[in-house]
Amino acid sequence: MNYPVSFHLNGKLIAVQVTAQESLLDVLRHRLGLTGAKEACNEGNCGACTVLLDSLPVYACMVLAVEVDGAAVETVEDMESEELHPLQKAMIDQQGLQCGYCSSGMLVTAQALLAHNSRPNKTQIREALAGNLCRCTGYADIIKAIQVASRARR
């Protein structure tokens, strides 16, 4: 059985038919072709799938698609406009990524943090990103990247 769902995705209103079991991540990746949010554990353990739901970071694999009816969803695809977002640029420059599988989730979580705290300190960054795992970088350079980006923002 399909249910109609409409929500704002990266600023555009869209309507899709979804099944009751489908997660937001499934819909983004498989129905809408947005593969920026990554699929890893699919069990809410890693944060690779993080997107913003009404400006707050959520694990898209743990949100049912029917729940987002009427909401606003933002993904990593929304970050760059003409050029890279300062966070994206800092992640590259500060070596905040290696394999890159965690990067989309890290970036949108960091974006949500900077939206309500424009100059976070290290502890605040660590707390805000505690739900995002990275197996490669050891985290220190991701923190550095977020600090650099927070200073670079106008």
């Binding site: 920026g36 699929e39 994206q88 070596q95 290696q98 960054i125 795992l133 220190a140």
Partner: protein, 773 residues
Amino acid sequence: MTRKTLLVGKAFPRIEGAVKVTGQCHYLLDMPATADMLYAGLVTSTQPHARLLSIETEEALQQEGVETVLTAHELPGTLGMSLQDRPILAGERVRYVGEPVAVVVAQSPAMARSAASRVRVRYKDLPVVASIADSLAAEAPILHPDLAHYPGADVLSPPDSANVAARFEMKAGDMQTGWARADVILEQTYRSSVRHHAALEPHGAIARQNGDGSIMLWCSTNAPYTLRSEIAQALNIPPDRLRVRGLCVGGGAGAKNHTCIEVLVVAAAMHQPEHFIMLSLDQKQEFTSTFVRPALVARLKMGVSREGEITALQASYQWDVGASADACLETVWASAYTGTGPYRIPHVDIRSAGIYTNHTPASPMRGNDVAEIHWAIEQHIDQMAAAIKMDPVMFRLQNIVKGGDMLALGEAMHATGLDQCLQSVVEAVDWQEKPLSRTTSARGKGLAIFWSPTTLAPKHSVEASARLDPGGCSIAIDAEDAGTGLHTFVAQLAATELGVPLSWVHIDAVDTASALYHPQPKATAELCSIGNAVLAAVRQLKQQLLAFVAEAWQESANHIDVIDGVVISHATERQQALDEVLSTGIDTDAGRRPAPMLETRGQSTPSPLFPRHDDSLSAILHFCAGAVAAEVEVDRISGEIRVLQLAAALDVGHAINPDLVLSQIKGGTMQGLGSALWEALIYREGMPLNPNLHHYSIATFADLPAQLYTHIVEVPQDGGPYGARSLGADVPVMVAPAIANAIYNAVAVRINDLPITSERVWTKLIKLTNPLR
């Protein structure tokens, strides 16, 4: 004279950074589904050791959308690069929980999952081999009764016990003499846990058999050529029929160097021709049906003289290779050779063995055997130093292996900056400064040094190709970059050699069908050989380019060079931008002349420092060396451990890109912290208890110590590209023994088993205060 813009030794952001931060990097699961795509679902063993009585597929086959179900009946055969000891699908028995038993192919992932759950497998349980001790017990069930007849078994030393898959030995000097010269002899046993690679991106594959019988495979691997030969051999097809395409790899840490489930997808594609078949693993399958890191039991006996000289070492390294040893042979082998640790020891008797158990097959993981070996050696060294009342830094400096020293394996060591690494971390943690302690908690400092070999496949040679056209310079190598920075390093080497900006160089995705490129089956992500092959290819490319320009300008090629992307004649000062030359042609006295597309190939056949004389197994190319120091705080009541600071220094020969090398060291240090304190895949009688990232803890943001110091030492490597070493075994950083030594320094308890849980510390603390408990 020619002036070169050196892009080597400089920090550049990784070349694929922009695609990765925008989410545009295509990993396997990001490949678009096609309308006719079919989905594979795995049926895996629920029992650690059992006879398979029957596999009933009728109910599954009747489900809507199910195309086929394959079992060992349709898919017999075994897998293995060196030793074929892994069934493609379990046949008459299962040997671990998670072992693939059947593959279902259906029209949607949900249909495949649901049909897989309707395949009825009937088991008759057999006694479980739950540990190395179980496996070696006199009455132990024999897990591979036909081992001696498996293809590849002839290269191995004959086993001394039925469940021993492989064993190696290294002996030097005379043990009697060694013991006689010792004033103190200490014997102890150390253990490490089974761990999981836990790369964020799960294993997965997409395959299709085309109308002409050729097969395409896309999968998440750093070694497409290895997978091609393993799969072709297992399915008995010519390797050329299978074309493996590389993709962005979301981390591998060693779990993606050999085939596990990819072979099943190719087999399914051969049964359902002209359909794309896709499989991606769920979290539990990722933990139980791919590979794990082997656990080690190390028994060390070491002698030392009162003057502080290590006189002898007897060591036994027993590895739990799980249900199949093939992917782990290198670990077993290398541990016999690196098992002295980075010390000069005249009398040595080291034996290593890979031992079958009913666990998921093991494969090397970041740090290979090195992390486990040093977990044992470096704690032992601290105890030896204490026994003769010597400072652990002095004791290490006195016994450290130096360039020119004869090693137990019969070759002379090359120079490394091991002593500089040690000095660097000692300074970083203020070693001499006694940490303050309180009544409820105590602080302590500890350190560890290590060496880490880069191992090479037998008769190892590597090819690379280079192409110059209007799009820039494209390089093809045999390995994907799983995040180590390999592609960026290679691009820096190529750009420097050619005289062009870094942005001109592209690294092609691996395609085993690329005619330009014929590496040997066993590919490697190892920088030294790949770097040298790339340098050779680009040098030829440049020669051809210069010859073309010389001819057009009617000058000698000796006077022409490419600097920062501009072709220049030193004789006439004539110059033209290279991109213009390539796209619209070179200016000659007779007008513009189009440039040909240039293609070259380069090879490197490294001469390993430590060859294997029988030439059938791997050799050691060289050793990286490094040191780690830690400061911890231990709660005297609860045993809780807080890591206050970590310092790591590594000698990489020459850092082609210092930022990327430091990034590797930081990542390795934090992975080391996780494996020191938490990481363990826990089995009870062969049943995995925590096969997911919720119950299997890796380091998180919250665990970052307040101080993290990383440092690069550069003592150039002979024969390495620009003096670089391959980052030994993927930059292991030996955090665990440094933390264990720091805990001993703080509260005088020694933890011999990994991980160092607070519970283990607490148990020992209690004994210390109340010996009766």
